[in-house]
Symmetry: C2
Subunit: 394 residues, 2 copies
């Protein structure tokens, strides 16, 4: 991508009314734009981060044997009355009446809907176990939306649901999700503390929270050494048991032909919240330091004098070669000062930066900088693409 043709508006000043570093950096590096309190657009750079995170989640969910589907946001309130959660979740539920006068709501979560769906199709123990997931937009009427996309009224979640015939089966699925979650967060550059937790409004037998220490965290987490941290909840998994299947009549016939309620688990990840969490953990006073796998682009090519044909020629050559090798490259070809470009490069924080300057190039050299470690390598211009591929693990 060439910056001059892209939609990537950076902001120099710290926006007013923002406490959290991640919120400031989200806005300053052109990742999101606030429409109204707690409601955000993801600008092209933010959309890229979101899609990288979503793909990591997809890969690990599919590897764990879960199948992706997509459920609707609009839901009849009637189905929530069957579990009584029209009351327990009343505070955050957005409701309206449709044209026919039926009471509807926007899904703050999907246990009721998936249970009803699976009930429609599964009759026999031979069709179980099954684990289904979606990456989908949820709606909650938050009293105090906070910290950008950490606590928003419209946000993206990954929610998975498992259906089993035995507690052993549930435990096996639960363990598989637990393991997948560790991989997902690791690939996102996060090391959450995993804590047994209250099952709350979800109900059920047992749950684990995945908590990433951060100053803006609204949860508390004790680490291995017993020290308490403020932390952001990025994931929560539950052994639900039969609470939802019994309330909604999701039964199957067992090997003896006897009706049994399905045994359920549910597994959530706050997808959009992860963007803020990653920024909270990976930043310095100059900007974001994206972990490789979730970076919107892996490399920024920075020609210091875009009007110099030799500088720009080499920049275009690197751009083409790296793009051909399926490396995501952003080239800052804007007609801006070197200072502005360096500041913006640090701000948006791509993992690697290749700087091409007239003076260094006169010696046949260019510079590769690692944003996270600040390490700089000066190397012959013909060696840059090869070195970059090695750094990218290709």
């Amino acid at each position: 991508m060439k910056w001059s043709k892209y939609f990537l508006p950076t902001i120099k000043e710290v926006p007013t009314g923002t406490e959290a570093v991640s919120h400031q950096l989200l806005l300053r590096s052109g990742l999101v734009h606030m429409l109204t309190s707690g409601v955000y657009s993801y600008l092209p750079l933010g959309w890229r981060v979101l899609s990288k995170i979503e793909n990591i989640i997809r890969e690990e969910m599919n590897a764990a044997g879960a199948h992706e589907l997509l459920m609707p946001a609009i839901q009849p309130l009637e189905i929530w009355q069957k579990t009584g959660r029209d009351k327990t979740l009343e505070e955050v539920m957005i409701r309206f009446k449709n044209k026919k006068g039926t009471s509807m709501c926007l899904g703050p979560t999907h246990e009721e809907i998936i249970t009803d769906l699976v009930k429609s199709f599964v009759q026999s123990y031979r069709q179980l176990p099954v684990t289904l997931y979606q990456i989908q937009t949820k709606f909650r009427d938050e009293t105090r939306p906070r910290f950008g996309v950490v606590r928003a009224c419209e946000f993206i979640m990954k929610d998975a649901y498992s259906f089993d015939t035995s507690l052993e089966g549930l435990k096996k699925n639960y363990d598989a999700m637990y393991a997948a979650y560790k991989k997902i967060f690791d690939r996102c550059g996060l090391k959450p503390i995993i804590a047994e937790a209250d099952t709350g409004a979800m109900g059920g037998r047992l749950s684990h929270e995945f908590l990433v220490p951060a100053p803006i965290g609204e949860d508390k987490a004790k680490d291995e050494d017993g020290i308490e941290h403020q932390a952001i909840e990025v994931g929560h998994i539950f052994q639900l048991g039969t609470k939802y299947s019994e309330a909604l009549g999701a039964v199957y016939l067992d090997e003896q032909g006897k009706q049994q309620p399905m045994i359920m688990g549910c597994y959530g990840i706050g997808v959009s919240r992860l963007i803020s969490t990653i920024i909270e953990v990976h930043n310095d006073d100059k900007g974001i330091k994206w972990p490789q796998e979730v970076a919107p682009f892996l490399v920024e090519i920075l020609p210091l004098q875009p009007s110099d044909p030799e500088v720009m020629g080499l920049a275009e050559q690197y751009y083409d070669e790296l793009t051909k090798c399926k490396i995501d490259v952003l080239m800052d070809d804007r007609d801006e000062s070197a200072g502005r470009k360096f500041n913006d490069a640090d701000l948006i924080g791509l993992p690697f930066r290749i700087t091409i300057g007239k003076r260094t190039l006169a010696e046949g050299k260019v510079e590769i900088k690692n944003r996270a470690t600040s390490q700089v390598e000066v190397l012959p211009k013909d060696a840059a693409v090869g070195r970059m591929l090695a750094l990218a693990g290709k």
Copy 2:
């Protein structure tokens, strides 16, 4: 994917209350499930079709120089009052008051929101032109939801918006989108009639509709020979001009430092509606005939006797080899009768089927069938993977 571990519930009978062939086949082949009138879940097979269509659209939009972003569904009603469309779209707009008592709505379209967003970031002619798009869920309180996902209350759209400084620029962007739309629909196996159309509630200077002839179509289209067809509108592009930029104050400074309203275009595709449209066009009395690029899987491997080690061994070998070559394969490893499996294969309609049966295998042969042409090739078992790769264009 192995069918025995998948969530792919097929239905033998025609569901009651369904008129449209596409609606019947959507339900029968386990693509969608109705939650309530006009509101559907996409089951794993349907989700795969959706994501194939989305990726085609992404590729062509990106190739046309548009940048993907994601805007919210929740919107303050206030912004709609500025263009007067809180009134013109009142009939279909889902509204609610949030906790603070502010009037909100769910976006039935996004002209107001994108104009406000671009206004926040663009000040100078040097930042234009720019084209942005999203693939996102829209909400409309339809009086008469119909034909499955053809007319639904919650549906997925691709909506793109261009911002220019001149009418020539707008026309160039409009032509680029027109060309991209032809490619997209062609890759989806559709040949729409393109007709100049009324700009309706959208307003503006000029518009073209992309209409696919189908008996359930709610629009009328005259083809090249002047014959009138019932047709489904799958895309609509508009030269909006300055209607929205003037109402919302989206201005830029031109080369003379004078304020000018941005000149806009907008470009929609009904993404979820495309699934129904493709099925309307590509089916026979046995089921769906998916065009290759939008098929949920490209190949079905059908071992007729899964309990026979030789049959199943070869099926597994094909499955591994094709998967390694990045071919999407579904293997019907269920313990069902050959008749049931053949019927289901025709119903879900993957482009190619490799049948492995004991009798043919005794002669060292297997069968490849093309679902669209019904053409059958019997070939030596060692030639099947190579032939399949050739058919897939690999």
